[in-house]
Symmetry: C2
Subunit: 219 residues, 2 copies
Amino acid sequence: MREEYRAELAEVTRLLVTMAQRVRTAMADATDALFSADQSAGEQVLARDTEIDTLYRQVEEKVYDLLARQQPVASDLRLVVTALHVAVDVERMGDLACHVAKIGLRRAPEVAVPEELVPVVRDMARVTDRMAGKITDVLEQADARRAAELERDDDEVDELNRQLYGLLLGTAWRHGVEQAIDGALLSRWYERYADHAVNAGRQIVYLVTGEPVGESTPA
Amino acid sequence: MREEYRAELAEVTRLLVTMAQRVRTAMADATDALFSADQSAGEQVLARDTEIDTLYRQVEEKVYDLLARQQPVASDLRLVVTALHVAVDVERMGDLACHVAKIGLRRAPEVAVPEELVPVVRDMARVTDRMAGKITDVLEQADARRAAELERDDDEVDELNRQLYGLLLGTAWRHGVEQAIDGALLSRWYERYADHAVNAGRQIVYLVTGEPVGESTPA
């Protein structure tokens, strides 16, 4: 029974890996579409979000199925419900990729990101992409150290967020209000994406090792 | 058993009612603190968020306990996991109240909301407060019609959001970039609060009636 339960939990984990990979691709595509002002690429990100939602439902179904058939208690029960929390975070990361794509779409065929912001937004995209990759690693290799790195990556994203605000509010800003709002929102989407990655990472460590890692409330 | 299960689920629902009431108060207090630039009131909203987080943990504990002892299957199982989803939405609404308070705090002793935005932000606060009240109603009275009203309220919030953007991006705007970003973020926080209320409302209808209401992915 315990063996069978482990095997089923591993299947849930595999679904989460697929979800995390799709979400990482979605954010990478959204970022590319943003910088190239490629409308059809942006629209594709939005269209493909339904696939991520479907994967979320599959995790949910699998979890219900597992709960009903295996009737786990105590720590086993917590583990399987944790899988659901991870799925919620990862699904939300997919939504944030859509938000990035939408900012690009609203301005296409113009590029939504003014030149001065390009380096810092590119850095945010780079760091958050690395974070999404680590989520897959942690899921596949149960590596708690890799999850701990996510917190440092998140600090880096927060610092980039501060830099970006400095540019928006600096005296050299010459793009007016609309592009400033878009810049602030963009920064926010990457930052939230990073927050959910940290949250997911923490829960995944628990999911794959059974060891709780600090406290966190759902983001 | 079925009887006992119902009674325990009712206890979870009571916890959710307390949570929803606290969150409604938090947003009302955050709004007041924002308009009065009252620093200590704003800080109190942040401090009291830990109480909401604690309630969230209590729901979680109760749900684990219920799952372990009653071992519900099929629709009963879905109901109890739904309670967890509701708690996640309501907890997140509390976080958004903190976001509103933080914008007020960043500008205190100045008022963060410029005069021209006051009426529309007040309207957003009024509609979203009504929505938070309906969540408690739906939890206590299992009234699906009341939950359906939330969708219309949400449309109203979306319209107010558009109005606010119109003001920010209009030629008459004279407050510069920083206040425009704060205005856009504020609007976003109320709008997200409304989205979570709709999501929670839908799930609560399922929780208290056992009838699913449309599709939704976690917000």
